[in-house]
Amino acid sequence: MTQLKVVGGSPSRIDGLDKITGAANYVDDLAFGPDLLHAEVVESPHAHALIKSIDTSAAEKVPGVVRVVTGKDFPYRFGLYMQDRLIFPTDRVRFVGEQVAAVVARDAKIAKRAAKLVKVVYKELKPVLDLTEALREDAVLVHPDLGKYPRCPWFFPQAGTNLAHFRKTRKGDVEQGFKEADVILEDTYTVPRYAHCAIEPHAIVGLYDLAGRLTLWSASQSPYTQRHVFAQALAPLGLTHKDIRVVTPYVGGGFGGKAGVSMEIIGAALAMMVKGHPVKVRWSRAQEFYNTYQRQGVIARIKLGAKKDGTITAIEHSLHWDAGGYVEYGANVVNAVGLSATGPYRVPNVKIDSVCVYTNLPPGGPYRGFGYSEFHFGLESHLDRLARKLGMDPVEFRRKNAIREGDTLAYGAKMNPSGLHEAIDRVAAEIRWGQRESPKDPNKVIGKGFACFWKAPAMPPNASSSAFIKFNEDGSLNISASGMEIGQGYLTVMAQIAAEVLTVPVSRIRIEPPDTDRNAYEWQTVGSHVTWGCGNAVKAAALDVRGKMFEVVERALGLSRDTLYLEDEKVKCRARPDFELPFKDFVISGIQTPHGNFIGGPILGSGVFMPEFTSALSDPETSQGGHPNVHYTVGAAAAILEVDKQTGRMRVLKAVLAVDVGKAVHPGLVKGQVVGGLVQGLATVLYEDIRYDLKGKLLNANFTDYKIPTAEDLPDEIVPIIIEVAQPDGPFGARGVGEHTMIPAAAMVANAVEDAVGLRVKRLPITAEKVALELHGIHYDDVKGSYMGLCFAGEPESYAFRTTGAKKRK
C-alpha cells in the first residue's frame, strides 16, 4: 500500500473558523422574516390519563393567535421502528409533559399565554410507574393497541401486555456451562435514566409554501430519516418524499438526542396548518429533558460462571428496560443490548433476555452508547467481583477471556479483527496497574478501576450511505453527502478521505451540512458509523472521479488509463514521466485536441455503500442465523480515583482509555472523542442524578438541579491511546469511535471505589453523597426520600424478572 498522506494527519477542522467567529448558524439563528409564526405546546400534567375533551375556544380568541391545533387535525401515527405514536395523542396521554395541543401565534409570548387557556379535561388512569407492576398479568396497559402498530420485522411486541419487545439470545447450554463452573456469582445492578443535555435545545422551523412544498429547517442528526418519517406520517395529506425537504444547518450537540424524530414532528404538522407562513417550534431546556428522548433506565441481573483458571463458562444476563411511553426508537436500544450483552468476551454458553417495557415516563431512545453504557456498568462490575472471588487479578481475568478475531459471537456470527488484548495491556501499563498509589492526605484513599468495552452500530441491514463529488473550475472540489456534523468532526474526516484519493488538499475541499434536496442520501448520523459507512461512500465517489479523469485523459490524449495516477492535483503518467496535467486545466472545461474541439466536461463522481453482508433475520427464540451487526469497536479504560472518606467526594486523578479505531483518519479528532466521551461518561456516574416524583413528574429538568460537568469537574489527567487493527471493509481500515468512549466510565469508577474503600455500589449514580453515607454506615436507599430515577421502586435484589403477563396472554 502506498504511504498515506492525508489520512492519519490532523488538519484543522473544516468547521473550526465558523465556530470560533460566530459565523456558524444553528436552526434558531436562521432568519425567516416578519411573518415567522411561533408555536407553544399544551402539555399533559398527568403521566397516564384519558383525554375526555379539549376546548380551544378561549385560546383562539387571543389577539395574535393564528391557529390552535389538536390531535383531531392530525390523527396520524409515526415512529422510526414501530409506529406507536400519534403526532398529538387523541385518546390518552402517556407521560407528564406530552403534547396534547399547540397554539400558533404571531409571537412567542402570545403563543405561551394562549396555550394556558386551552382547557383539557382528563380522566386520570393509574400510571405504570414500576416495572414489576408493568409486567403483572393484570397490568394497566400503556398501549392497549400494541400489536396493531406497523413495525420493523425484528421487533416482537406482545399484544395485551406492556412488553414492547423481547430480544432473546441463546448459545450453547447455559445449565451445562454453570455445572462446569467452579465459581458462580449472581447479582443485580440498576442504571437510572439520563438526559443528553446537548447545549442547543431542539428547534425546527417548517414552511408549507403556497405551491405545496414542505421545507423543514431542523436541528437533527438524521435529515433523510426525518424526511422519510414525515412523509410516512403526512401521507394522508397528499405529501410525498419529493414534496418534503429537510435542511439541517449546524447542530449544537446531538449525542443521539437529535436522531430519529421526536418533537420535530410537531413542526412538520403545524406548518401544514398555516400554509404560506414559516412556523418555529423551539424547545425550552425543561422540554429538552422530558419531551425528546431520554436514556432508558434498566435493571439487570447477571449470573456469571468461571473455572478456577478464570475461563468463563456461562452467562445469564436479564435486562428489563424502563422504555417510557413510546418505544418507536428505544426498543432498538433494547434489541442491540440483547445481542451483545456478553461484553467483549469469549463466552461459550449464553442466555440473554433483553425486555423492553412500556412505562409512563418520557420516551426512551438513542443516547451515545445505545444501551452499551448501561449493561457494561453491571457486567464490568460483575467481572471484577468474580475475579476477586476466584482470587484472580481483574485485568488478568479480562485478558484471559477477551474476545479475538474469528471467535463466535453470541448470535453465531464471527468477531471482526480486534485489538482488545493490546488495549488491555497498554491501559494496564499506563495506569500502573497493580501498584498502589499513596495519598498525601490521610483522609483520602486512592483506588484503581478497570473496564473493557465494545459496541457495534445498531443499524438496519439496508442502512446506506452515498456521496457525490464535483469539481470547481480551479480544481477545488465539493463533496455532497448527508452525514451530520454534530461536533465529532465528520466534515473534516470526509474531506481527508477524498483528499487522500484525489490529492486535493483538505483546505481546497468544501463539504457542508446536508439538505435533502441537494445532498446524496445518508441513513442517519448515529451508531458511530459515518466515518466507516459514509467514509466508504466518499471514498467510492473519489475513486469514481479518479476513474473519470483517467478516462477523459485517455480519450483526449491517448494515454492508457492503466499508466495514469494522481499526484499534487495533477494527472501524471508512469509511461511518460514528463507528462502532467493539472486538474484545473480540464476538470470543468475538458481537454482540447489538435482539431480545436474539447473532450470531457465537468467531472462528477458518485459513490454508494451498503453493508450487504448483514441481515436482521434470525430465529426469534435464539437470535441465531442472522448477521445483525457490521462490526464491533473495542477497547479498555482505567481510572485512578481519590476518595475522601469523610465527604465521599471523588476526584479522578488519571483516566486512560484505549480504543481500536482500525485507522485513525484524524488522530486529533479521535482524541477529542476520547476526552469528551470519557467526561460525559464520568458525569453519569459521579454527578448526574435524575429524579422523578412518584407520580412520574421529572423533578430536575434544568442544569441547576441536574448537574453536568463544568471545567472544574474534570479528571486531572486523561490519556487517550489509539490502537489501529484495521477494519478490512473500512475506508483505509477505519471503524467508528464516537460513542464508545463513554461506555466504560461508570464501571471503572465503581471498580475503583471498591478498590479504594471496599464499597461495592450496584446502583448508579455513585455520587459523593451516596458514598459518604454508605461509609458512615447509612444505607442510601433508607434515607434518599421518595423519588425514583427509573421506573422501579422496590429493592433491586428482590426483583423477579418475571414476564408472566406476557406469557399468559401470548
Binding site: 460566530g22 456558524a24 432568519a31 447545549i199 431546556r285 442544569f703 453536568i708 463544568t710
Partner: protein, 142 residues
C-alpha cells in the same frame, strides 16, 4: 432603538439586532451560551433586561474578530477546541475577559473563568489548553 421594559437583552440582541452569536441554551443563567461582554465584563444576557444596559458597550464574538482573529481565537482554532460549537461564542468571550484581566492565568484560573460556560462535547481539555497556550505570548493580532 426602543425596547419594551420587559424585553430580555438576549432576545433584543438576537431578534431585534440580528446578532446571533449569543445562543439560547437554558434561559436561566445556567449554561453561559448567551454570554457577552458588557463594558468588558462577561454577563449572561438571558438574565438581563435590555433597558438595564442603556449606554453600555456590548461586545459579542462578531465584534471581537472585526479586526481579524484574536490570538485567543487562533489558538482555539489550532487546538480544535470546539466540537459542536454552540458554546464557543460564550467561552471565547469568557476567556477573552480572563486574559484581559490576567494575561498569564494558571490552569485553575482558566477553569474557574470558564466554569460558568457549559460544554457537553469536548470535556473542556482542548479549551483549557488553547487558553493556556496563548496566555504566555504577547497579545498580537494577525
Amino acid at each position: 432603538m426602543e425596547v419594551e421594559p420587559s424585553d430580555i437583552l438576549l432576545d433584543v440582541l438576537r431578534d431585534e439586532l440580528g446578532v446571533k452569536s449569543p445562543k439560547i441554551g437554558c434561559e436561566r443563567g445556567d449554561c453561559g451560551a448567551c454570554t457577552v461582554l458588557l463594558d468588558g465584563k462577561s454577563v449572561r444576557t438571558c438574565l438581563i433586561l435590555a433597558i438595564e444596559v442603556d449606554g453600555c458597550e456590548i461586545t459579542t464574538v462578531e465584534g471581537l474578530s472585526r479586526a481579524g482573529l484574536t490570538p485567543l481565537q487562533q489558538s482555539f482554532l489550532k487546538h480544535d477546541s470546539f466540537q459542536c460549537g454552540f458554546c464557543a461564542p460564550g467561552i471565547v468571550l469568557s476567556a477573552t475577559e480572563l486574559l484581559g484581566k490576567n494575561p498569564h492565568p494558571s490552569e485553575a484560573e482558566v477553569k474557574e473563568a470558564i466554569a460558568g460556560n457549559l460544554c457537553r462535547c469536548t470535556g473542556y481539555k482542548p479549551i483549557i489548553e488553547a487558553v493556556l497556550a496563548v496566555s504566555s505570548k504577547p497579545a498580537r493580532r494577525l
